[in-house]
Amino acid sequence: MTAPAQRQGEQTAAMSLRGLVKHFDTKLAVSQVSLDVPAGSFYGLLGPNGAGKTTTLSMAVGLLRPDAGQAFLLGYDVWADPAAAKARLGVLPDGVRLFDRLTGPELLAYHGLLRGMDQPTVDQRARELLEVLELGAGNRTLVVDYSAGMKKKIGLACALLHAPRLLVLDEPFEAVDPVSAALIRDILQRYVAGGGTVVFSSHVMEVVERLCDHVAILSDGVLRLNGPLDQVRGDRSLEEVFVQVVGGRVVTGSELAWL
């Protein structure tokens, strides 16, 4: 792999997690997760439903306090120096975490001003993002009335608006139609080509296999495998590796006979 010459200051890993642990009541949701995301990589976090992907990413970006462990973003400790870490970070949270009673343009303006950007920059970037993502710069529909794909796209636009060095996306392709998915893919690939780092969670193998250069597989809160994609899958398909690692089962002929 011919990595482009990296700029000073990006030598450190874009995201480093050290022994993250989280309990919910008595259930252990995430157990001792440690991993390094190299700067400039496209990193896929894989796992079945309930594996702890969202919990891990929430702890990594400062939304959920870990019971133990540390998280570093671009070299800054998220829990000790949140302001410095968060200034260089863009997040697309899972599901509904948007102020969805605003219109798309209003939501982008809100995020821009919240990040301390000046008005002309916010207006110009917001218009450009709305045009590129085909959301319409003059659209006055409330985000709550958007389709699922449009919600993902406006969430992505909010995360990109302040030109962060690291993007953390929770299930960016879930419930997105193929056309929107292709558009989001192109934007993310351009972002990585420009030197940014993307970390995203998914349980769709095809997407991960096509986009990522690094993957990590999480199940039952434990990190099972991680590293460069080619190293993780070897000469098999990623899906085979995933099902084997996670310990899934296959339905035999005699079960569900009544179907």
Binding site: L63, R65, K86, R97, F99, L114, G138, D145
Partner: protein
């Protein structure tokens, strides 16, 4: 073709015969309550507190309603039972709207896909609504009326009153469900939202004169007048069920079935009304009519209110101001406060003439709108954490946005109070007192909103609370009101001591007092928020 129709009918017939009764709904509700408590000591403590409060209410209520019987005073009973019963019914109507919300652990929308007939569903939800602490406490309190009837008229009267008390309980629950559901439906569809507000206002206005008559009569010790009012109330649906036993005791056997009929008709009508609005709640929300509207203004201009600074603070305040109107829960809280804020002082000013205590109550009530301000945002609050908004800016902007709505209302309240009490000179000092109470209220509410936040259920009913949520809300509201009234008391005493001087210095002193309290409270809240933002997010995120 015909064969198909026949099988279709056969399937329907089978489904109809298999309709469940009431017990599964009640069991489901109790199971949800138990699961909500399991492994959560704080919730268990709250639940126990709720049991204690309900128990105290039940004992006091029972004692009051049993006194006329024990003392053998049929005249007092004829006044107390219908009026007391009516007060309880009205409490069931207004307390959920203003303070508690309705326990919607059984969200009707969840049943939309099940093959249930509407009658089955209504019966089940109604039974589940009765299975709860408030209904139990009400039943225990009104049981005092049965004792009174027994003392005055023996077994037949006691039996009649028991039937009446049970009917009264059904009436209370049906009324609170029907009205909150109808109000919620009205608020949801943007076209008719003002209609709901007006309907409620008219209802409140209709209660006003009645209340005035009773208060005026009681003040002049004119029991004849009160008796007449009680007689009239006793024939309205809200008082009728509670008078059945007394009619039997007094030998008017013909009146007992008539009053029962009035109560049952009211219950039936309310259940029909509830059933009609429930249909609407199950189908879902009405889409907004803004679709397709296009503008070419800049995004920042669209977000910010006129004359707001082009900064983070401006963005926070503008977003909050838009949310107070665009989100149904917040709009419902604003509208109910407007109603309560205007009608409480009006009715008390007209009747007694000294609105001081009520003014403090209204000011503190205004602050209560922010008691669960982060709960309104739910998980969307994550955006502000990710952007690293400091606690001071977060708390300050939220209070500022709320004040933009509240201050004009408080001005209106002080003008109304001043004008009605015939002392226009009192308007500035009344406003000063209101501001002081509002500031003190905020001083209590802001830290509480960070420390005691809770998640609203993902229901479309803005009054819906999850199991135990209503209790948290009610206890929080009670604590804040009590605290605000106690802390504002010195000001009230000073006002009384100074007399006419107060008219001149009331406004600046009140504003200074309120501002100081607000600054202290918001400082504490901001520090708390800086330390606990992730915990707060977890607390307001549903289902975690």
């Amino acid at each position: 073709m015909t064969g198909r129709a026949v099988t279709g009918r056969a399937v329907t017939a089978q489904a109809v015969t298999a309709q469940p009764g009431v017990p599964p709904f009640v069991r489901l509700k109790l199971r949800l309550l138990a699961n909500g408590l399991r492994g959560r000591p704080a919730r268990i403590a709250l639940f126990v507190a709720g049991v204690v409060v309900s128990g105290i209410f039940a004992i006091i209520g029972y004692a009051i309603f049993a006194i006329p019987g024990v003392a053998h005073r049929p005249g007092a009973a004829a006044i107390l039972l219908p009026l007391g019963g009516a007060a309880i019914v009205l409490g069931w109507l207004f307390l959920p709207l203003v303070f508690f919300g309705v326990d919607e652990s059984l969200d009707p929308a969840r049943f939309a896909l099940l093959p249930l007939r509407r009658r089955t569903l209504i019966r089940g939800l109604f039974a589940a609504a009765i299975a709860g602490l408030p209904a139990l406490a009400t039943l225990a309190a009104t049981a005092g009326m049965v004792q009174t009837a027994a003392q005055l008229g023996g077994f037949p009267a006691a039996l009649g009153e028991l039937v009446g008390v049970l009917a009264g309980l059904l009436l209370c629950v049906a009324l609170s469900r029907a009205v909150t559901s109808a109000f919620a439906t009205g608020l949801r569809s943007r076209r008719s939202r003002d209609l709901a507000a007006i309907a409620l206002a008219m209802f409140a206005a209709a209660i006003g004169p009645l209340q005035l008559a009773v208060l005026a009569g009681a003040q002049r010790a004119d029991w004849g007048a009160v008796g007449t009012v009680a007689e009239v109330v006793g024939w309205t649906p809200v008082g009728a069920p509670y008078g059945i036993g007394l009619e039997i005791a007094a030998g008017r056997w013909w009146a007992a079935p008539l009053k029962l009929l009035i109560a049952l008709a009211a219950i039936g009508g309310l259940l029909r009304w509830w059933s009609a609005t429930l249909e609407n709640a199950m189908i879902g929300t009405v889409a907004s009519d803004r679709r397709g509207a296009v503008t070419d203004r800049d995004p920042v201009e669209l977000l910010l209110l006129p004359r707001m600074p082009r900064s983070r603070f401006g963005a926070l305040v503008s977003r909050e101001v838009r949310y107070w109107w665009r989100e149904t829960r917040r709009r419902a809280s604003l509208i109910t406060f407007t109603m309560a804020g205007l009608f409480l002082p009006i009715s008390l000013t007209v009747s007694s003439g000294s609105p001081g205590a009520m003014v403090i109550f209204v000011g503190a009530l205004a602050a209560l709108g922010l008691a669960n301000q982060f709960g309104f945002d739910s998980s969307a609050y994550a955006a502000n954490i990710t952007a690293g908004v400091p606690g001071r800016a977060e708390i300050g902007s939220r209070a500022a946005a709320h004040a933009i709505y509240t201050l004009p209302l408080l001005v209106a309240v002080s003008i109304v109070v001043g004008a009605l009490s015939g002392h226009p000179a009192r308007i500035p000092s009344t406003f000063g007192l209101l501001i002081a109470a509002y500031g003190v209220g905020l001083g209590f509410v802001l830290p509480a909103s960070v420390r005691a936040a809770y998640a609203f259920p993902a229901s479309s009913n803005p009054f819906a609370m999850s199991s135990g949520g209503g209790l948290t809300k009610g206890l929080l509201a009670f604590g804040v009101l009590l605290g605000a009234i106690v802390v504002s008391l010195p000001l009230q005493i000073v006002a009384l001591l100074l007399g006419s001087v107060w008219l001149w210095i009331g406004l600046p002193v009140g504003v200074a007092y309120g501002t100081a309290a607000f600054l202290i409270g918001s400082g504490i809240a901001a520090d708390l928020l800086d330390r606990r933002a992730p915990e707060l997010l977890a607390a307001v995120t549903p289902n975690r």
